[in-house]
């Protein structure tokens, strides 16, 4: 007697990351798993957005050093993953970001002041999630992966044409919620794309102390979902892989895990010292794989980009940086009564009483 073994959905991702454009700006000969390289027009748009994002990250990091923001986790170096994945979303899809993903929110169209509200200490989520179809950035690691799964489940139940995309880090992949989300999404076949940005460190803990697995994308197989390992610094590969995964989800074929191999160029936030856990050689090594440089080389070769165009994008980036400075130079108006305004939908007497304490204090200070 033999036991019938179902064999569907069992395949391990290829070791060699999917990549279209190599570090030298030339097409690679790596397998691309049937994905197609985006058009030059799309790539030019991705280039522009990556340049904007890099300038944004640099400006915010600078302002944080000046004490304008309380803290900031920069995604400098990870522009391809942030921009490539987010650009693949349709307007109706939803994004479930983390603290690291300001670049994704910027790409989604959220105004800079609203993205930075949390880091400046104005409010936890400065933007309207319904307006941008983006959830508030999650700080408790991996929790947002379940929200993305649940949201997609509701979309599926309602017959909505919407998918969800959530970012998580290599550190977050060790959390229990990641396992639960992968499993729920796959059991329920929700249209969810998990973009795992493997930037090699969780604060100071290197990947090799985070996991003993050969690669994080392998995990997908254990949940019965496809996993892809992508060169996370090749925006063409990220965009193509995420687009395909979103299409798959929308088609009713369930979730996908995409591991993006990338590197965090800045410190974890302004408050850690990366020289304590990594050496400059390593940072220099990763600079060779810079996502913007290689795309620029590629697009120049194909003549989609020239000096004039590059200068124009650089100028747009300066304009964005100026708008960030301006936004952060303006003090946000903060109404202390808001402490009590959004705790419950149903008014509470006890909170009304506590609000009176603050109002009396404001009145005494002549601020009522």
């Amino acid at each position: 007697m033999t036991i019938d073994v179902p064999t569907t959905g069992r395949s391990l991702p290829q070791l060699q990351p999917i990549s279209f454009i190599g570090a030298d700006g030339r097409l690679t000969d790596t397998p691309t798993e049937g994905l197609r390289i985006p058009s030059d027009a799309t790539l030019t748009g991705l280039y522009r957005q990556m340049v904007l994002v890099r300038r944004f990250e640099a400006q915010v990091t600078h302002l944080t050093r000046q004490g304008r923001l309380a803290t900031y986790p920069s995604a400098a170096g990870q522009e391809a993953a942030e921009v490539g994945a987010t650009t693949a979303l349709a307007p109706n899809d939803w994004l479930f970001p983390t603290y690291r993903d300001s670049a994704a929110l910027l790409t989604r169209g959220v105004p800079v002041a609203e993205i930075l509200a949390a880091f400046r200490g104005d409010w936890h989520c400065g933007f309207d999630p319904q307006e941008y179809h983006a959830s508030p950035s999650a700080t408790p690691l991996a929790t947002q992966t379940l929200h993305a799964t649940g949201f997609a489940m509701a979309a599926k139940l309602k017959g909505e044409d919407a998918a969800t995309l959530t970012f998580l880090g290599d550190g977050a992949s060790s959390e229990g919620d990641t396992h639960e989300a992968f499993n729920f999404a796959s059991v329920w076949q929700t249209p969810t794309v998990f973009v795992l940005q493997n930037n090699q460190y969780a604060i100071s803990t290197p990947l090799r102390e985070q996991t003993n697995a050969t690669m994080l994308a392998d995990r997908a197989a254990g949940y019965g979902m496809p996993g892809l390992r992508v060169d996370g610094n090749d925006v063409a590969a990220v965009f193509a892989a995420v687009s395909a995964a979103l299409a798959r989800g929308r088609n009713g074929d369930g979730p996908t895990l995409i591991e993006c191999l990338t590197y965090r160029m800045e410190s974890h936030t302004n408050s850690d010292d990366p020289t304590k856990y990594r050496d400059s050689e390593e940072v220099e090594h990763w600079k060779q794989f810079d996502p913007i440089d290689r795309l620029e080389k590629y697009l120049r070769q194909s003549e989609a980009l020239d000096d004039a165009k590059v200068a124009e994008v650089a100028e747009a980036a300066e304009t964005l940086a100026a708008s960030v400075r301006e936004a952060m130079n303006q003090e946000a108006e903060i109404d202390p009564r808001e402490l009590f305004a959004h705790v419950y939908a149903t008014p509470r007497t006890a909170l009304a009483e506590q609000q009176q304490v603050v109002e009396a204090e404001l009145a005494a200070a002549g601020r009522a």
Binding site: H124, S135, F151, A155, K158, E160, A181, N183, E338, R348
Partner: protein, 338 residues
């Protein structure tokens, strides 16, 4: 006792209804009235939940409305959050009190805070059903009273019925609420019966109720200890004491008005709960009643609670749980001559 006759004329003749049945009917009626209501959790579909609260619902509403989720509490709450963000009203079950702990992070960090984080732009109308407390001879981790974890978390509403009519009415109201509700079901009362015709509408969710009038002292109780309080009042009457009993029904928000009015009348109060005493719900009650009614009190507010030990094994349960004798001892400890 706390039941108001329903307005509907079509209500069937009263019959004997257990709390389990009342909860089941509340879920059924909520599912029927509102397409966005979803019921999922461990074993809630085919089996109808380990306490049968969801029995028959999957067959009636289909597996797109009522289903068995994978076994993962954080996953259940976390996905309920996403569903609620996308317009649904999930009603989820944590199989037992202590098994809600893996979901603690999702509940306190996201369920409770989402509305606040987003300046009121996203609210999460989620109902988290948690069978809680002991006295059912359960093995360890099956009898915890976890209410204080939830009541000390701003953003959550915490409800606990003590009888079938309230169970029905409060659950309907919780599901309809735009705020997330932790709905705590006293396991030892699941099989309590009452003559009822459902649907029934009892007092609103955020009100405590005087369920026995008295003039000498007020006993405050909720969920499983309401029975203990009533029995104690009965026993007290034999000793010539007129004891008022209040069923809190909702632990957060606390109904200061009803409780203070009673305490001002009787000038003495004791709170009874199964959870450990230290830092327990009784501590909050005693503090706020004292703050508001100090000059009306003729004795300290007392707590009759579980001991400060992990919930014991079944054979020790009877020594742990607050009993009528302990309540009477507490009442006796007051200097009635004052």
């Amino acid at each position: 006792m706390s039941v108001t006759a329903p307005e509907a004329t079509s209500a069937p003749a009263p019959s004997s209804v257990t709390m389990t049945k009342a909860l089941n009917q509340a879920l059924r009626d909520s599912l029927a009235d509102d397409d966005t209501v979803l019921v999922f959790g461990e074993d809630v579909g085919r089996l109808g939940g380990v306490f049968r609260v969801t029995e028959g619902l999957r067959a009636e509403f289909g597996s797109n409305r009522v289903w068995d989720s994978p076994l993962a509490e954080s996953g259940i709450i976390g996905t309920a959050i996403g569903m609620a963000m996308n317009g649904m009203r999930p009603v989820v079950e944590m199989q037992f009190d202590a098994y809600a702990y893996p979901a603690f992070e999702q509940i306190v960090s996201h369920v409770a805070k989402m509305r606040n984080r987003t300046k009121g732009r996203v609210s999460l109308p989620i109902t988290i059903r948690i069978p809680y407390a002991g006295d059912i001879g359960g093995v360890e981790h099956h009898s915890d009273s976890s209410e204080v974890y939830w009541t000390s978390t701003p953003g959550l509403t915490v409800v606990t019925p003590s009888n079938p009519a309230d169970a029905y009415s409060l659950l309907r109201e919780s599901i309809a609420s735009d705020d997330p509700v932790v709905f705590m079901e006293p396991k030892s009362r699941y099989w309590m019966k009452e003559m009822l015709s459902l649907p029934v509408t009892t007092a609103p969710m955020n009100r405590a109720q005087v369920i026995r009038e008295g003039t000498d002292a007020t006993l405050l109780a909720y969920g499983p200890t309401v029975r203990t309080a009533l029995d104690s009042a009965e026993a007290g009457a034999e000793h010539g004491l007129s004891i008022e009993v209040i069923d809190l029904r909702t632990l957060s928000p606390f109904d200061d008005e009803t409780v203070s009015a009673s305490v001002r009348k009787t000038s003495r109060a004791a709170i009874i709960h199964e959870a450990a005493q230290f830092g327990g719900y009784g501590a909050e009650v005693a503090a706020r009643l004292t703050e508001r009614n100090f000059t009306h009190l003729s004795a300290p507010i007392l707590r009759v609670a579980g001991f400060d030990v992990p919930y014991p094994s079944p054979k020790l349960e009877e020594f742990y749980l607050p009993t009528v004798e302990r309540v009477l001892d507490a009442l006796e400890s007051w200097d009635w001559e004052l």
